[in-house]
């Protein structure tokens, strides 16, 4: 059995327990959010020992070398001595420069950082409120095009952070920010390959960034962006995407509605059905394509499987599923 040492106390790990669970059981207050090895909120560092490699998946090489790992997915086989990274190592400050309500549930937030952030459109950052609540949001902005960071935030029943941002966040507020994280972004190695981008809800944010990043990079292959929503109001940014399609003949925007009557759908020129189903019907052979999937986890999982079965290689399928820890216990509105 492995032991862990933290804050001058030693703890025995029970079988099947993660390091995070063990620390919580022992009464330590460790910040966490997704508990699935994605969001990096619980990031810790070893001062002695080697963390198992699955607990370092998704970290940058420099972080791995420094012993950073994710306690929420760490099942160590050897003894580890742990330290919490200091705030200064992880968090910087960002100032809110804009909050725009796009409709009655989605708002756009723009942030300025003291020093320019080196990032790719489609990566995500973690925002921390003064009371310690941390949430991840994907970047819709493109470094070469935008001088602020752009986030799209949907307010949902029970969402602690999203309701606060939608209702109360004021321009000029300073927030703690960590990132960028994640590997769902445009890689300009194959400018002629076709790209398929599928998202629902505010999964559009990273896709909007990725699409503009690819276009400004000179991507020549056809690009199809399918944005799905149950209701018409969820298809925000329609004007921006239509304009993008007008400017670039290789970019195609296909809005999809799964829950509206024919006349509403017709007026918007939207397709009938879920975005992933509409997309897969239109593109049956995805061999050699680059695929981006962003949004609710069930859609991302289904679309990943369908894209793979349609011939896409798994390493060409990049995904950014939401994490929705506030919402899991709450029925759909």
């Amino acid at each position: 059995m492995a032991h862990i040492k933290f804050a001058a106390r030693q703890h025995d790990l029970t079988p099947d327990e993660t390091v995070l669970e063990c620390l919580e059981r022992a009464g330590h207050d460790i910040p966490f959010s997704c508990r699935t090895g994605v969001c990096l909120t619980c990031l810790m560092r070893v001062s002695t020992g080697t963390p198992p490699s699955p607990s370092q998946a998704g970290l940058r090489e420099s972080q791995k070398e420094q012993g950073y790992f994710l306690p929420c997915v760490c099942h160590p086989s050897e003894d580890l001595e742990l330290v919490s990274p200091s705030d200064a190592e992880l968090y910087g400050r960002a100032i809110v420069s804009e909050v725009t309500h796009l409709n009655d549930s989605i708002c756009r937030v723009r942030l300025r950082t003291a020093t320019p952030l080196f990032y790719h459109a489609g990566q995500f950052i973690n925002l921390r409120r003064d009371d310690g609540v941390v949430r991840s949001y994907s970047l819709a902005s493109v470094p070469r095009l935008d001088d602020t960071l752009e986030l799209h935030i949907k307010r949902l029943g029970g969402g602690k952070m999203s309701n606060w941002i939608y209702n109360d966040l004021a321009v000029g507020t300073a927030m703690d920010m960590q990132g960028p994280n994640g590997d769902c972004y445009y890689i300009g190695m194959e400018p002629a390959r076709p790209l398929l981008l599928i998202g629902n809800g505010t999964g559009l944010a990273p896709l909007y960034g990725i699409a503009r990043d690819a276009l400004v990079d000179g991507h020549k292959g056809p690009m199809y962006l399918y944005h799905g929503s149950r209701t018409a109001k969820g298809l925000y940014y329609g004007d921006e995407l239509t304009a993008l399609a007008r400017e670039h003949e290789n970019f195609h925007y296909i809005p999809c509605l799964s829950g509206e009557e024919d006349d509403v759908r017709g007026a918007l020129g939207a397709e009938q059905g879920r975005a992933e189903a509409v997309a897969m019907t239109a593109h049956s052979d995805l061999a050699g394509w680059g695929i981006y999937l962003c949004g609710y986890p069930p859609m991302v999982l289904t679309a990943k499987k369908l894209a793979f079965l349609a011939g896409a290689a798994l390493h060409d399928i990049l995904a950014d599923p939401y994490e929705m820890q506030d919402l899991r216990r709450i029925p759909r509105e």
């Binding site: 999982l301 990943k304 499987k305 793979f308 079965l309 290689a313 798994l314």
Partner: protein, 122 residues
């Protein structure tokens, strides 16, 4: 000295070429697809990859006990000889599709077949 099976078949490149083809075949076969988790497709692909590396005579650290532990839950869920045969069939079809010669296919199928009792926890 003749090349090893792994070298004749094409080594790691052959495993890379085979893994997506093979995984696609088992996922589209309604009789066995439910044994292949799709919530973690990358993890699942990695497992297929190490299995294929072993079946191709390549470097591996599999033990019979690993095979038993890894499949114990699936056996509880009803994994039996007919499923094993179907998956083996998909492996053979994958190799034929890649143009592997019949002799090497026979050797791969013999290695894969040798795992039957461990996979089925007998």
């Amino acid at each position: 000295m003749p090349d090893s099976l792994y070298e004749r078949i094409g080594g790691a490149d052959a495993v890379d070429a085979a893994v997506d083809l093979f995984y696609r075949k088992v996922l589209t076969d309604a009789d066995v697809s439910h044994f292949f988790d799709t919530t973690d497709m990358d993890g699942q692909r990695a497992k297929q990859k190490s299995f294929l590396t072993m079946a191709f005579g390549g470097p591996h650290e599999y033990t019979g006990q690993d095979m038993r532990t890894a499949h114990a839950k699936l056996v509880e869920d009803g994994l039996n000889d007919s499923h094993f045969d179907k998956v083996a069939g998909h492996l053979q079809a994958t190799l034929e599709e890649l143009g592997v010669d019949a002799g090497a296919i026979g050797e791969v199928m013999a290695i894969a077949g040798s795992t039957r009792d461990d996979v089925l926890n007998r």
